[in-house]
Structures are given as structure tokens and as C-alpha cells.
């Protein structure tokens, strides 16, 4: 555990150090090139800003109106029917839509069941192997003006659903 946290403390500084030293060795004008890249980065954020506003507004409206809770309630009986832990159903749905809302649910789960319970462990693994599909898809596709996303959504959903079940199964198997 301590090793992992130390590695993660080192990761970003060492990556930057490595790249800058490498740049020096290759005689790159490091500072000038950095500024050039930083400018491009700012432009990128500016380009995706409208998408970001639209996304966050829609997700907040959905959460505030209670649509997310209704969706979760609709899924619950189906989850129970296939012996999927009902406590985890909300997290698996919310995770697809909003990372911050999912983190909120995760900490709720930790304080109710404890991080070392079956539910707590499974929730941790679920968070590790899934992604906020709606956010990622909108951001990347809309940045280049793609509207017809073909089979991207089904692929991402299937992978994420399999991930949720794999988390439950693996935690049962290992612990």
C-alpha cells in the first residue's frame, strides 16, 4: 500500500523530469516549445468549453430533477432478479453519467457498509474498471463535429456492464 502511494506521489514529477531532461539531451528549446504546447492546450480547452457547459448543465438538471433516481429505481428490480447486489445498482448507473456523483455514492457506500465489506470492495473495483461514458463520448466526438457515433455507445456500454459484473464476480472469488 505504502509503495503504491509513494509511486503515485513520484509519478507526475518523475514523468515531467524525464521528459525535460530528455528534451535537454536532444537539444530541444525546452521553454519555447513548452510555451508553444501550453498555448495549444489553452486553445483546446477553449474549443471544448461549449461542450463542457452543455454537458454539465444537462447532467445537473437530470440529477436535480430526480431523473437519475428514477432510472436507478427502474433498474433495481432487474438487478435483484439476476442476484446483482441492489446496493450497487445506483453506482453502476450513475458512474456512466457523472464522475462526481459516482464519487459521492462511493463515499456513501464506504460510510454505510465500510470499505472492507463485500459491497465496499466491489464498489471500489467497479469504480476502477468503468468510465463516465456519456461525458467522454460527448467531449471527444463533439470536439471534431461528429454526430453519428455508430457503434461506439453499444461497445462502451457492453464493456462497462461486463466490468460491473466482473467486479462482483472477482471480489466473490478472491476475498
Amino acid at each position: 500500500m505504502r509503495i503504491l502511494l509513494t509511486i503515485s506521489d513520484f509519478l507526475i514529477p518523475v514523468t515531467v523530469l524525464f521528459i525535460v531532461v530528455f528534451g535537454c539531451l536532444k537539444k530541444v528549446d525546452i521553454y519555447e516549445v513548452f510555451l508553444e504546447g501550453a498555448k495549444e492546450g489553452l486553445q483546446t480547452v477553449l474549443d471544448i468549453l461549449p461542450t463542457l457547459i452543455g454537458l454539465i448543465m444537462a447532467v445537473e438538471v437530470m440529477r436535480a430533477g430526480g431523473l437519475l433516481e428514477i432510472l436507478v429505481e427502474l433498474i433495481r428490480p432487474a438487478a435483484e432478479a439476476i442476484h446483482f447486489p441492489a446496493e450497487l445498482a445506483p453506482l453502476s448507473i450513475v458512474r456512466l453519467v457523472s464522475s462526481s456523483a459516482a464519487t459521492g455514492l462511493l463515499t456513501d457506500i464506504f460510510s454505510t457498509y465500510g470499505p472492507d465489506s463485500f459491497i465496499g470492495r466491489t464498489a471500489s473495483v467497479m469504480m476502477s474498471c468503468t468510465e463516465t461514458v456519456f461525458y467522454t463520448m460527448s467531449l471527444y466526438f463533439l470536439s471534431v463535429g461528429i454526430k453519428k457515433t455508430r457503434y461506439t455507445l453499444p461497445c462502451a456500454l457492453v464493456a462497462n456492464i461486463v466490468g460491473v459484473f466482473a467486479a462482483v464476480w472477482l471480489v466473490k472469488l478472491v476475498f
Partner: protein, 192 residues
Amino acid sequence: MLNGIWGFFVIGGILTGAFLGRMDMVTSAVIGGGKSAMELAFTMAGVVAVWSGVLKIAERGGMIDALAGKMTPIMDFLFPTIPRSHRARKYIATNFVANFLGLGWAATPAGLMAMKELQKLNREQEGTASSAMCMFLTVNMTSLQLVTVNILAYRTEFGSKNPAEIVGVGIVATLITTLVGICVAKLLERRM
């Protein structure tokens, strides 16, 4: 597709808000949504600018080329339509590696650059995603990150006796989702 989802969120959110008597909360969501997006963008702009700068040094020094070169076999399999020397490969390689290491903020600019390059190669009708884009985003959305440090931090905060005990299982689960994503994408590629 995205229009439909966005509309569903907004219309559905407002209608359920009306039914459940939560219109005050919906109102503050409409007004506050833009504000929280701007706050996020403000933080994001700083971090993305720093990483874009650092990545530019790596690119100019030839590091990204070396990285993309090492990943040629995987790239050939996932993206047969992208020519070997094309820039799209470099940005995709950077995005994958940054995601893998958990450097999410470095992954985003590389990923957006990759989309720009993929759009140049796109032979589909206007506004339609190419197969390479679908594969790239599918892999991206299966969470490549090996160790989710923030989850470990929350586990520690809530008094776990061994916060890192889930790391191994997490890696296996991530591997499963990524492989499933790739398989489904390859299967659907010719049909949709």
C-alpha cells in the same frame, strides 16, 4: 445519438422535477450548471496547458515517436486504417500511456489531438465517426488506468485496513473490460 441523450437528460430532468416538486433545484441546476462548467474549465485550462507544454517537449525530442514505434503491433491490430507514420498514432499512443499511468489530465489533450488527426483521415460521410474513432473511444472508455489512486485515497479515508487489497482485482477487471470493448468493436465494425 448525442442529441438524443442530451435531450433526454434535459427534458426528462425538467419533467421529473415538475412531477416531484423539485423545480427550485432544477432552476439552480440550469443556472449553476454553466457556472460549475466554467469553474471546471478554469482548473482544467491550467492543467491541460501544462501537460500540453510538457508533451510538446516530449514530441519535439522524439520521445512520442519512440513510444508509438514500440506500440506498432497493437496499433496495427486496433487501427489498421491509420498509416504507420501518421501523427494520429502518436497522439493515440500518448493518450493510452497517459491513461494507463493515471495521468488523466495529460491524456485529455493528447486524446483531443488524436481525434483531430483521425478526423483528417475520416472517409465516412460528414458528421459520421470513422471505425478508428469508434475503436479509439471504446478503448478509452474502458478505463485503462492500472491503479486508481483516488479510490485508494477514499478507502484510506474511510478506515480500510488494507486499502490496496483491491488493486490486483481492479487490474484484472480493467483488463476484462478493455478486452471486451475491443472484441465488441471489432465485431460491430463491419455491421454498423
